[in-house]
Symmetry: C2
Subunit: 261 residues, 2 copies
Amino acid sequence: MPSDTSTVLRARFENGSPLTVADQRHIDRLPFSGRNLRRGEVISRQGDLANRLHVIERGSAVAYRYLEDGSRQVVDLYFPGEILELNEFSERWYSSGLMALTDTRLVSYDKADVSRLFYQSPELSRRFINLLSHQQAVLTERLLTLSRAPARRRVAHFLLEIRSRATPGTVNSAYLFGRGPRELQPGRQRLEPVDTVRIPQAVIADALGLSLVHVNRTLRQLRENGVVGSTGHGITLIDIPGLKAEACQTESSGAETRRSA
Amino acid sequence: MPSDTSTVLRARFENGSPLTVADQRHIDRLPFSGRNLRRGEVISRQGDLANRLHVIERGSAVAYRYLEDGSRQVVDLYFPGEILELNEFSERWYSSGLMALTDTRLVSYDKADVSRLFYQSPELSRRFINLLSHQQAVLTERLLTLSRAPARRRVAHFLLEIRSRATPGTVNSAYLFGRGPRELQPGRQRLEPVDTVRIPQAVIADALGLSLVHVNRTLRQLRENGVVGSTGHGITLIDIPGLKAEACQTESSGAETRRSA
DNA sequence: CGGAGGCTTGAACGCTCTCAAACGATGTGG
DNA sequence: CCACATCGTTTGAGAGCGTTCAAGCCTCCG
């Protein structure tokens, strides 16, 4: 148990509006375990018992499933602060595999412990319900994009979603953006534009339900239009408004002032 | 307030395992209003304030959204016993419109009242979380099907999902299956096979992200293969295993014996 | 320097779309 | 009871987007 506490789960629940001290304590007291993974390392397999709840402290991960025809489908990507496989919190077994996309640090809780939180504090229940609900909204959005949109729009939408999800925790997101851990050492600053997405095109393809070849072609088009740039590996987002235009943003994510019951 | 009580929301929470008397009371005491709609009638519009929670008592409904290019996308279908727009429970405004697909009876609650339930009973919170979580699993499944599958598989998957969702409450599902209310009068028994899905092909198309024309063609193929039959309007599911084969059922619901760490 | 993994490009095929038109039931008014 | 309007379904033909197959290239790393 490397560190005595991890604030990442608490931060997830706080999400802007502070918790009561009691609720903070409830979360902080949860027993947890930390785990460091190398890029490409498998976290759990499809069919494994899903009794733990993982939160990403640093790095990124991908949930995927192999279909009968052998093709791989990416179910979701995860970034620092996010809870893995939240979409099947109540399921007993994983219906998808989980892999570290970059070098990653996870914090893991026992689902039974987490469930107990909800008996201890209705407020935490409410917030968890909000998390789930919000996730569903995002999923729904993705569903709409995937089912009908042409490749250009899918890719643009994908890049924007990644950007919006990975940017918040600046420090952590450096694992995904920029050149990776090595370049983060002071003095070696590459001063690369921050908006560089470093996800293998194969993963993008499997996430969007496109072939790798066509994702590549689509990126080339966007590049020729000056919307994105290429830094060898990694995609630099140059013209964000342009990207949004490509994505035909439904943009339901406007700055919402929210207090709710 | 036509009837003094409605058991449909309670049934949703019970879902097999009985509630304590206290919890039952909590739900039964919620103030609600009933509403009858004709086929095609609009329940709410995209952008409307989403402060009510609707449950279908009889009939069926569809959630849809118009995209910038003018095309319509079906977000979800709803059947008796299901909660409408559960995927955006925490949102303040509807991001999609809602329409009665057949003659329908709704029961509606105030979201604030429902939220209060969660403060009163952790058990109800837990169950609601399960509902949300399960919905997400279904959504995820649909996402996988939509993003990559060819038309045949999409249609087959769709028909099976409809069947599995609409069948349970036999009586209510008659509004969707069979010839509709009129034919249900005793004595007029049409004895039509129960597994007849009566959803306009246009809706199916918008749900699957296919063109109406191609949905039709695909249905014809399935018909020629003897998997489904056509009763003029309505699609009769003849060969369920055949359909499942077409759908390449991932069928994550298999009884998996697994111990693992 | 050589290998491995990921990126890039070309060509041909095929699934799905759009456009266009006809058919069939149902319901309405004459 | 028929003519007509309407809505949903059915079918054909041509075009476009994305796939598969098959190479070639680049970059990092041992």
